[in-house]
Amino acid sequence: MTAEAISTPYTEASERLNRPLLRPSKVLMWSVLMVGGLLMVLPFIFMLSTSFKFNNEIYELSLLPKEPTLSNYLFLFEETQFFRWFVNSLLIATATTVSVLFFDSLVGYTLAKFKFRGQTFIFIAILSTLMIPTEMLVIPWFLLSKDLGWLDSYWGIMFPGMMTGFGTFLMKQFFESVPDDFLDAARIDGLNEFQIWWEVAMPLVKPALAALAIFVFLGNWTAFLWPLIVTNTESLYTIPVGFASFSGEFTTDWELIMTGATVATIPTLVIFILFQKFIIRGVMLTGLKG
């Protein structure tokens, strides 16, 4: 550091010419970051390794089970409704994601590419919903669901998330960068406005759609408070709710709880490994927009 402070452009240049490949300070920095990163994922490693252990081995800190077993997984899938919860979550998260992608991009496109009276009002109204915390809405949602018979149903779990202000805002930003010439050319070709949106504009914002899809899916996969409130029948639980109720029952069988936690977490990890670049770029993108 101090060396840099007194370095002139000249020494800087000569330094670059015969810079050692590994400077000790850099190596130290790298190592600290690496160790920190490994500590960050240590909870997963413990979770994963314990899920393959027998009950009598869980008090040992060893990361590799002495006698690896699948019995915890078998118990989970045969004796509990974990598989059902997994499927529930998969269906709900998928359906919600499809809905959000369709409607958020439709509304975002309309706000970005059409001129009509009341446009600004609609945009601000949708944007203002971002200021309302879910926690304030869950009680009215619950009462609404009770009156309409939506409690304890897939639809009841899904309906609050079918459209999002955040996604609309995001898609509007992206559609604004689509050149009007493209759309006008399609208009001259005789496509109607729906076709122009679906066939011309949508393919141009695929990266944004993909990023939004991943976030909405993950958000619904991990959602806890509302599914906890709206479901009462065990067979309709989503995986976080089912897992929490299961863990509350087997509260000291840590190997079973870790197995449940693994089952709940694995899909998100798989998605992350598959789409890592996309997800990180998506976070950066949305973060910088804010």
Binding site: M1, T2, E4, A5, S7, T8, E12, K26, W30, M34, M40, P43, F46, I58, Y59, L61, F103, V107, T110, F114, K115, T129, M131, I132, P133, E135, M136, L137, I139, P140, F142, L143, L144, P160, M162, M163, G165, G190, L191, N192, W197, F224, L225, L228, I229, P240, A244, W254, G260, A261, A264, T265, L269, I271, F272, Q276, I280, V283, M284, L288
Partner: protein
Amino acid sequence: MSLQSSRTPFDAAANRAVSAELKGLTVGQKKAIWAWVFLALPIVFYVVIRFYPTVSAFAISFTDWNILGEKSFVGIENYSRLVQDRVFWKVLINTLLYGVIGLPVSLVLSFVIAYYLDQVRFMHGFIRALYFVPFLTTAAAMGWVWRWFYQPSPVGVFNLILVDFGFSQQPFLRSTTQALPAVLAPAVWAGLGFQVVIFLAGLRAIPSTYYEAAKIDGAGAWRILREITLPLLKPTTVFLVVISTIGFLRIFDQVFNITNQGDGGPLNATKPIVLYIFETAFDSSDMGYATAQTVILFLLLLVITLLQLWYLRKK
């Protein structure tokens, strides 16, 4: 539908003929009609699922209602009850503590990590992924993993390690003073990667010419950090401060899953406002009182958002 058919020249011509039949309408008017067609269903959704519930939350907060019976209007009674409710004050202080402790700890940690990670090339993406992964996990599941870590020896990992190194066991979740930080830790852990990635993006956005100029002027690393990096990073920092504060004030999943029976104990030591709302509404069926609490939460979050807007406007 007709999506495919219009691709042929003949259908395109037919389409145009139909459009021509909407006679007297300018292109602009036709587009406006399309716009309202597109917006029809979303408008219904936002009115019924967002705005009506918001208004209704305010309205219910002025009533006494146990769901089964009739609503009765009680004015501001629920709010005056809040002022006198010692549990509510405890819960409010806990909520603020989550924010006041969580924010600086997570922000300083994530900035330091991002600042150095930004200078690392070798395995940069891999290390970044290690920090980011906890952000994507299910908080409920991770709550139980951490709950296990906090158990007394010989079960809990933390106490096993402490004992191995010759320290005394810590009560963690069983202590009224240690429980709140213990519950907060997984929330900080889970959010850290997000903050790191946002900081990295912010650091990347600073033009390198600033750094080159500073170096030519002979500025040291510390001065560059203080006079270039931090000031130029301010919008990123403000964004993270707001997002993270709101996140910590809304903490629920972790507390519900880590604490015994999800009761925010011991003795309400870890109970945040959202858990109190949940209990008031769905254990005690005291809807009026619960919605009054949600209004307080809403106002709390609103103040933070408005502070951000005010700050950004100022620039």
